[in-house]
């Protein structure tokens, strides 16, 4: 369907997503990144939750670099504008209005597609760069991620801006340059454009859920999205034992593999609260995330 073809040999891109927020995406993404690095695979961990990026709180790069994400925003040269209205008519987003004798561009509605500039005959429209966010990246080395290391790339949307997908795409482009054996995408919650930008073209989709009716409801939405996008998927049940919803029965009925179970354990929440890594600070952490890594690799190989 897309230009995207089979994954590069031996390279794998894993997206971590969920419908519901707060199910444990960051927990899974950061610990899985460490597990993969320790297994000998160089990792790029991309925080695609541009609204609320938290991966770097757990895996802080030593000397991060940053680069702004800019979009082209139309500007009007009033001296050249004939008020013909072609730009307003062509804009699919209602981002251009003509008030009195002025063409007004609403940046928060504009998708920066350039259609208006193209139809402006008098050449009164041009574009200037406008900042909407930032991509930060750097390596987390040392014993924590030895031997292979983790590069952490963070997408951060500027407060008050709305173009999270643009910032997410920029972060993923930055990570693609690293070309690591394993790329882990920590996606936004939900099922809208931000989540799509985070999981698009992944080889494997890991959906993190909790066994409550809410987690269950939102998991079904995320499964539908993943299937629509044609990405092989599996489920991680977090806080296993805390709720009454039978995620296992659902997954069995749907033929969805359960990749890992992380039990409902106050100690996990405490480690996470203080910015720690469960893989090191919980006695079962290494087994959970080592097991998840193997399950993810298996799922990727099955589908390849």
């Amino acid at each position: 369907m897309t230009a995207h073809s089979a994954p590069h040999v031996g390279r794998i891109t894993v997206a971590i997503a969920s419908g519901k927020g707060g199910t444990g995406k960051t927990l899974v993404a950061t610990n899985l990144a460490v597990a993969a690095a320790r297994s000998g695979s160089p990792v790029a961990l991309v925080d695609c939750d541009a609204d609320a990026p938290n991966d770097a709180l757990f895996l802080a790069p030593d000397a991060p670099q940053a680069s702004p994400v800019e979009v082209p925003l139309p500007v009007v040269d009033e001296s050249a504008c004939t008020l013909c209205g072609a730009c307003r008519r062509t804009c699919a987003y209602g981002a251009i209005r003509i008030l009195g004798s002025k063409v007004i561009v609403f940046p928060e509605l504009c998708h920066n597609c350039g259609a208006c500039v193209r139809v402006c005959r008098p050449g009164a429209l041009s574009e200037r760069p406008a900042r909407v966010g930032e991509v930060e990246w750097g390596s987390v080395g040392g014993a924590l991620t030895a031997p292979a290391g983790v590069d952490v790339v963070t997408a951060t949307l500027d407060i008050g801006e709305v173009k999270a997908p643009t910032v997410i795409r920029a972060a993923r482009k930055r990570a693609a340059v690293f070309n690591r054996a394993v790329t882990i995408l920590d996606a936004s919650p939900g099922v809208a454009c931000s989540a799509v930008a985070g999981v698009r073209d992944a080889d494997v989709l890991v959906l993190v859920t909790e066994p409550t009716p809410f987690g269950m409801h939102d998991l079904e939405l995320a499964v539908a999205l993943g299937r629509d996008m044609g990405i092989p998927l599996g489920v991680v049940i977090n806080r296993d034992g805390a709720g009454s919803a039978d995620v296992t029965a659902y997954c069995t009925a749907q033929g969805i593999p359960i990749l890992a179970r992380i039990p409902f354990d106050r100690r996990v929440a405490e480690v996470y609260a203080d910015g720690g890594l469960v893989i090191d600070e919980h006695p079962d952490g290494a087994a959970w995330f080592g097991g998840l890594l193997s399950a993810v690799r298996e799922l990727a190989e099955e589908e390849a």
């Binding site: 939900g190 809208a192 799509v196 698009r200 409550t212």
Partner: protein, 302 residues
């Protein structure tokens, strides 16, 4: 209409739990309207077993479609697309036709006039639904976005409009809004035009980081923010950081609610059809304190 929106930045901090229980307590003083503005994962209608009484389709934007028979494969459309949604796929050698990736297309239509063979048209997509519902607490509006659509902010605005209309219809002047996670377009649409942002946070590094992003956003809109610290006993150092931060920022820390398994399970029990029965626990005391504080701000309702 006075409106309070429960928000958090980070997901899973307890927004829906606090919305549902404080609304239930507030309803004892007078009527209110509910709105679930998380249109990507609406959970308040599940917790309150909402009965849908009316639904309206939410027309989304459109997506470009290339007619493979009309396309000559010239590629004139491709450089025009800034979303990298136009590609020659693996069948191009046979079809000589470009294809649109609907997951990438943002529906701008720039490619349509670029095609010399008129092979590209725009097709309307159904982006979701806005529902009106009844609950044990009061009338509710909520929405559901079709997975993969990119208009969640616009749908949130539609839900807000519906909730306002319900208020007018029933003569109700208080609204409890369950907000979406994040600070992007759906969060902005949920916060706009409210009177109070009730931030539900947790004593985690992530919770604090995302709370401060929410506070910055709320201040951008000149909205007052009050904070509830949920699961307060999860981390002593985390709770201390939040307290210090709130004091430094001059923000009201309305209540500290210890982790409480019974309280956390309440929405789930409600979803299974049990009656509202509040646990007699320290966690519930914190929620009652929050509700009492809100009652002063929001009034009794009419």
């Amino acid at each position: 209409m006075r409106r309070v929106v429960f928000a958090s930045g980070k997901g899973g901090t307890g927004k829906t739990t606090f919305t549902a229980i404080t609304a239930r307590l507030a309803a004892e003083d007078g009527p209110l309207v509910l709105a679930d503005c998380d249109v990507e994962a609406a959970n308040l209608p599940i917790a309150l077993r909402a009965t849908v009484t009316g639904s309206e389709p939410f027309a989304g934007g459109s997506k470009a479609v290339i007619d493979a028979d009309a396309c000559r494969g010239c590629g004139a459309c491709q450089p025009v697309c800034r979303f990298e949604a136009i590609a020659a796929d693996e069948d191009f050698w046979r079809t000589r036709a470009f294809v649109i990736d609907p997951w990438a297309c943002e529906g701008c239509g720039a490619c349509v006039p670029a095609c010399p063979y008129d092979a590209i048209t725009m097709e309307q997509s159904r982006a979701g639904e806005v529902h009106t519902a009844e609950t044990v607490i009061g009338p509710m509006a909520f929405g559901q976005l079709v997975a993969g659509e990119d208009l969640s902010g616009k749908l949130v605005t539609e839900v807000r409009t519906r909730a306002d209309a319900i208020g007018v219809e029933h003569g109700i002047d208080r609204m409890w809004i369950d907000g979406p996670p994040g600070v992007g377009c759906p969060a902005i649409a949920a916060l706009t035009g409210t009177d109070l942002v009730m931030a539900v946070t947790e004593p985690t590094l992530s919770g604090e980081h995302d709370l401060m992003r929410l506070v910055t956003l709320a201040r951008r809109f000149d909205l007052p923010v009050a904070v509830v610290l949920n699961k307060a006993d999860l981390s002593a150092s985390g709770a201390r950081r939040i307290r210090e931060r709130m004091a430094a920022e001059g923000l009201d820390l309305v209540a500290e609610v210890p982790f409480d398994a019974e309280l956390a399970a309440l929405p789930e029990r409600l979803a299974r059809g049990e009656e509202f029965a509040f646990p007699d626990t320290p966690g519930m005391d914190g929620v009652r304190a929050t509700a009492a504080w809100l009652a002063e701000r929001m009034g009794a309702g009419s």
